[in-house]
Amino acid sequence: MSATLVKIVAREYRDSVSLMQLSAMLGKLPGVEQASAVMATENNLALLAEAGLRVDAKGAHASDLMIVVQGEKSALPAAIEEAMKSLTRQTEDNGGEARAALRPRSIQMALKVAGEANMALISTPGDYAAAEAMKALRLGLNVMLFSNNVSVEEELALKQFAREQDLIVMGPDCGTAIINGTPLAFANVVKRGPVGAVGASGTGLQQVTVLVDRLGSGISQAIGTGGRDLYQEIGGISMLKGLKDLANDPATQVIVLISKPPAPQVAERVLAEAAKAGKPVVAVFLGADPASIARKGVHAVKTLEDAARAAVAIVKGEKPRDSYADMPDLPAGLPKFADSQRYIRGLYSGGTFCYEATLLLGELLAEVHSNTPTRNAHELADVWQSHHHTLVDLGDDVFTRGRPHPMIDYRLRTERIVKEAEDPQTAVILLDVLLGYGSHMDPASEFVPAIHRARTAAASQGRSVAFVGQICGTAADTQDLARQSRALTEAGMLLTESNAQAVRLAAAIVAAGVLPRGGH
């Protein structure tokens, strides 16, 4: 006589094909006359009764999977066991390995899996980030805190605790680091080498590490601190720790410090420690007078490019120059802009690039406006509307609310490029192009069509616009630097080696009022 065995699997959702395959497989097992894998709905339970199958499924719910086998009593337990194995196999086939890799649900669990890890990268909504960071610190881990929206008070508490444990907190809002040769978050693939960097600026770190790589040297460590670390309230705790670690690191020969101007007392403390590092230190505090920074053993420079060049010079045993800036020469006989075209419009995805550009342009030209204002530039009243020379950081919160950062999502920037080209006062559009992990996989694919649209818009009014930019990336970055450069150059963009050079070229163009070759 036939028997029936039922197995209820709670809240098990499998697609119909899997359920059909399961039923078919069970039906073919020795001793099984019929099998069914259906949802445990009222009607299906009633149906089984109508079919003469005595099914005891008390407590079953419509969201449960019901496996029913009918046949020789002795064969049925093995059939159910096979069904369960099959469900498990399906799970594994559907990415079980990757799912297993994600299984740790806490830092403690992840630490067990990771073994000897000594750092945690935390990227959670800001409300939870500080608590997770503190958990990591208590477990003896250094922390890279990618999250933003962490309060100053929380940041201070984390960093003070870390200091007591001889650990570092990189962040919050730390977007870039290269630790033991591994790029973290937004970072480029650079050679390993003798230059160590500590920076309170993500794109600042990217510019310096990329240029060091291009100049033939390499990076030992690039340590991010978060943008507020050198505020009075925080006191530069992470920069001091990074400085100390690099000073003790035998692989680091030269240290580069990168920041906007720190609070005076913090700057004093950092520079005092730098002077005692026992190895050369290059400091670029954007906006600060290099003369006010220079100390014995501390070489002060004004731009990110100069910091990279000075560091590499020191590595090579050369005396670093105070400045590597040269105003570019434009050849004679170039076509003139229209009379109305007098201004530069800078559209940036990197906040530090925009800040550096505003500083440099403010020194070279009057009437510079920006949403990253400096002592020699005005605050832009309406970030959506350019006037005179305007430099906009499109990574500012006002632009990223509800949309991805412009390093990833180029829509806002490409729309703005066309808008600026339509303005009869625009002569030069200045851009930064970031490569590396985290950034857009093919910036040229976004920029080239936008440049063509912008040219068409300007041409329809009888004008031409020049495009100037720099690519912050290395030949080892996945975006293929050579291909990006070629595509952008063919589209007519004038590419320079650094942000500072791009700014100076743009200034030279508007000063001369001529359209260089490439700016069709």
């Binding site: 119909s16 094909v17 949802m39 199958l53 390995e97 978050a185």
Partner: protein, 349 residues
């Protein structure tokens, strides 16, 4: 990176540089008009190309890969993505607002800012037996359905009830042979109570993640909504029916429940809508039917059985075409051609 993307507009495998605090952003291109504007919930179920998120109010929002048709409660991604299964896990928290769906536990943000609203309304069809074009369209639908339907679900039982094999199949066939004439009569008489009574015998009935009976009811309701503009009494019946059917939907699982709830409000999946459009003369019936059949294993066929029944609620219309056609589940060359064209089956149901 935990959310590998293949290319282009579907989004980038990238971090958002500390702004959103999550590592990956993907773009959506369509958002169904039944998707709530604000909701929080948890990942409910995950398939290769679809993921359901259950809101705190019990609704489902379905995240769909680009290659799936839209659904009224769905958010469809704009570009190719890796399978959902390894990355999204039931129980993960999710938050939906006007601009994004965030599954922070999976490190994923779906950017909704560029997504157009998709409305899942059916095409109006006038069922007039004197209309030769319409009759041809329905015959094409029936022929394609029975030629290409799989061996499971309602289609083979309706096509050849006498040839059923297992006792469970026989029980389903018996239930259908008893219930469908009641449903046909109730529909003809615009009798809401009787329609609900018949539907109660179908909800949650049969194989599949979305049981065949649920799929059948969805198709049936699609036909009624499609006919409503042309026939007296159907519109009023549908509005009363929504309230009468709602308690029945609690008898099935959450995925089916959402689909039925949408259907009761006149909202349907894109592939089913395409079939109604084709029957209305706005497309190729065979193509549309083949595409709809590619939904799930038997769900597409079960839904089309319901649609055909709703358009022509007499058993003669549901019976399999006479020779030389075979019973379902034995695809011949034409079916094989259609299967190839329809592509991979949707993983949702």
């Amino acid at each position: 990176m935990p959310w590998p993307q293949s290319e282009s507009d579907g989004g980038r495998c990238a971090t958002s540089h500390g702004r959103l605090g999550v590592p990956c952003v993907v773009r959506a291109d369509r958002i169904g008009d039944r998707v709530p504007v604000f909701a929080s919930g948890r990942v409910h179920s995950v398939f290769e190309h679809a993921c359901n998120i259950e809101t705190r109010t019990g609704e489902l929002v379905t995240l769909l890969a680009q290659d799936l048709g839209n659904v009224p409660h769905g958010i469809r991604l704009a570009g190719p993505v890796a399978p959902f299964e390894p990355w999204l896990i039931p129980g993960q928290n999710a938050i939906l607002d006007k601009v994004a769906l965030r599954v922070s536990d999976a490190g994923m943000t779906v950017d909704l800012s560029g997504a157009a609203v998709w409305r899942g309304g059916v095409a109006a069809v006038a069922i007039d037996t004197r209309n030769a074009t319409r009759a041809v369209a329905l015959r094409e639908l029936r022929t394609t359905l029975y030629e290409c339907a799989p061996a499971q679900g309602f289609a083979p039982l309706l096509a050849a009830p006498a040839s059923t094999r297992s006792s469970v199949d026989r029980a389903v066939a018996a239930r259908l042979s008893h219930t469908l004439p009641l449903l046909a009569r109730a529909t003809e008489q615009r009798d809401v109570t009787a329609v609900a009574a018949a539907a109660a015998r179908l909800v949650g009935l049969g194989p599949g993640l979305t049981p065949s009976g649920d799929d059948f009811i969805v198709g049936y309701l699609a036909a009624l909504w499609s006919r409503a503009g042309h026939e007296n009494g159907i519109d009023a019946m549908l509005h009363s029916l929504a309230d009468s059917l709602a308690p029945l939907f609690l008898r099935t699982n959450a995925i089916s429940r959402q689909m039925l709830s949408d259907a009761a409000q006149g909202r349907f999946a894109e592939r089913l809508i395409d079939v109604t459009g084709a029957v209305a003369g706005m497309g190729d019936v065979v193509d549309a039917t083949a595409n709809a059949l590619a939904s799930g294993h038997s769900s597409g066929a079960d839904t089309l059985c319901g649609l055909l029944f709703g358009y022509a609620p007499d058993m003669a219309m549901l019976a399999a075409p006479s020779s030389p056609h075979r019973p379902p589940g034995q695809p011949h060359l034409r079916a094989a051609r259609l299967e190839r064209r329809a592509g991979r089956a949707a993983a949702l149901a």
